[in-house]
């Protein structure tokens, strides 16, 4: 295989607006962005609650969440597959091998990342922030919002980390998506499966896009933190 010409082909594919290639990229971004939109508000609220409330079992839940951070995505995919398959509890919904199934899987993978990072961001907040909000007459909801705004860089780190994890995960997308061209074939499944069929140029082009997305997310975070004048 000639590396130079394959890489050349990869960039040619990218910049010639190859329909199939861009469809894969759009499916990836669409699925992961929708998953983030669903998971983030709920997870940030749960994280804030876990960090500030006091009830029996709170510490246990936090430890469980931290444990789930590293859960293998293929196992999440397996469980979801069993639930969504025709014999599964949710089989009648006919969601297996659809983008919706991929979104559900990515929501499940993103949740513990978002919750755990939010918990540590809120626990790291200056307790005076919340006390000041309360003393100035803020309702619990407003003081929660104020505290989250005060630790917004930690919350943003949660969001960017979760996005980075789900946009590049392959195990779950493959299990419940099925790598159907034009429907559920996203960047990771395309790279893994198409490259094995000899489509090197496409694989390299997609890998390049994934790297750009991952780097872009991190640069965006670093830039936002710089703008915030932390410390």
């Amino acid at each position: 295989m000639d590396w130079l010409s394959t890489t050349h082909d990869a960039f040619a594919l990218l910049f010639s607006g190859d329909r199939e290639l861009w469809q894969i990229i759009l499916i990836s971004l669409r699925v992961s962005l929708i998953a983030m939109l669903i998971a983030s508000p709920a997870a940030v609220a749960i994280g804030y609650f876990l960090a500030t409330a006091s009830f029996p079992g709170r510490r246990f839940l936090i430890v469980v969440t931290q444990g789930l951070l590293a859960s293998p995505t293929v196992v999440v995919g397996l469980i979801l597959y069993l639930l969504l398959s025709r014999q599964g509890i949710f089989g009648s919904l006919k969601l297996l091998f659809t983008q919706e199934a991929m979104i559900i899987g990515q929501v499940l993978i993103a949740l513990p990342v978002l919750v755990a990072f939010t918990v540590s961001a809120v626990q790291g907040a200056d307790p005076r922030a919340r006390e000041t909000a309360i003393s100035l007459g803020a309702t619990p909801l407003r003081s929660a919002w104020t505290t989250l705004i005060e630790v917004r860089f930690g919350v943003m780190a949660a969001v960017f980390n979760a996005f980075g994890r789900i946009v590049s995960e392959i195990g779950c997308s493959l299990m419940v998506g099925g790598n159907i061209a034009g429907v559920t074939r996203n960047i990771p499944t395309a790279i893994a499966l198409e490259t094995s069929k000899g489509e090197f140029a496409q694989g390299i082009a997609l890998g390049f896009v994934l790297l750009i997305v991952a780097l872009g997310v991190n640069f965006a975070l670093a830039f936002a933190q710089g703008e915030g004048g932390m410390k």
């Binding site: 006390e131 000041t132 909000a133 309360i134 003393s135 100035l136 007459g137 407003r142 104020t146 004048g229």
Partner: protein
């Protein structure tokens, strides 16, 4: 304005096995000023935080403005009347103006109503030149003045100020002193803790001395006589 503003029958608080508050009775009159003195660790900050509803304690019968209250639950109407300012005030990472407007927004006032109040508070505290500085970059004295403006704009019946002049250099201290004097002269009641002679010796200042969590009134104005519960 006169009459009893706040009465608390017993105030007890322990951190672990260490008892830090053990006061029989506390009475604050409307519009009056009180200075809490006492050695480090005598319980001044803890007392103010309990009165502000930021710390739980064993509290006996308590009334505010003639209404019975539970300091543990701290009803919303009481929040509107009492403002606590930390020894090292926390300013939100927004802007000085937004910090001062925070409580007004929480009270649901429109921007049109807030704006003149905020402007007046900024002028009162002499912080007009600081409006473009990120709040967390202000000096200790400047933060203290923003925090006092942020509290005063809400016109509470009771200010609880924890060591407002501690750790300030001479100039910042003088500027803060002027604001404190003005707050004490105005209609609200003020309870402040401090080790600062100049504040302790202000005219009309009632002295409350704390020792191991107990409160002693030093000039009889807060005599521990039975208080008629309205």
């Amino acid at each position: 304005m006169s009459g009893v503003l706040l009465t608390v029958e017993t105030l007890r608080k322990a951190f672990g096995s260490r008892r830090v508050l053990d006061a029989a009775q506390l009475r604050i009159d409307a519009g009056e000023s009180y200075v809490l003195t006492g050695e480090n660790g005598s319980g001044k900050t803890t007392l103010l935080r309990v009165l502000a509803g930021l710390e739980n304690a064993e509290v006996g019968a308590c009334s505010f403005d003639g209404r019975k209250v539970d300091l543990g639950l701290y009803p919303d109407w009481l929040r509107q009347e009492v403002i606590y300012v930390h020894q090292h005030p926390y300013l939100f990472r927004t802007s000085v103006t937004d910090n001062i407007a925070y409580g007004l927004k929480a009270r649901g006032l429109s921007a049109a109503v807030r704006e003149p109040l905020v402007r007046e508070a900024i002028a009162w505290a002499g912080i007009g030149h600081l409006l473009d500085v990120p709040p967390h970059k202000l000096s200790g004295g400047e933060k203290q003045r923003v925090a006092l403006a942020r509290a005063r704009v809400l016109k509470p019946r009771l200010f609880l100020l924890d060591e407002p002049t501690a750790n300030l250099d001479a100039e910042a201290r003088q500027q803060t002193m002027a604001l404190i004097r003005d707050l004490c002269d105005a209609n609200s009641a003020v309870v402040l803790s401090c080790h600062d002679r100049e504040i302790i010796e202000l005219p009309h200042m009632h002295r409350l001395h704390m020792e191991n969590g107990r409160i002693d009134s030093q000039n009889g104005l807060n005599a521990a006589a039975p208080i008629p519960v309205k």
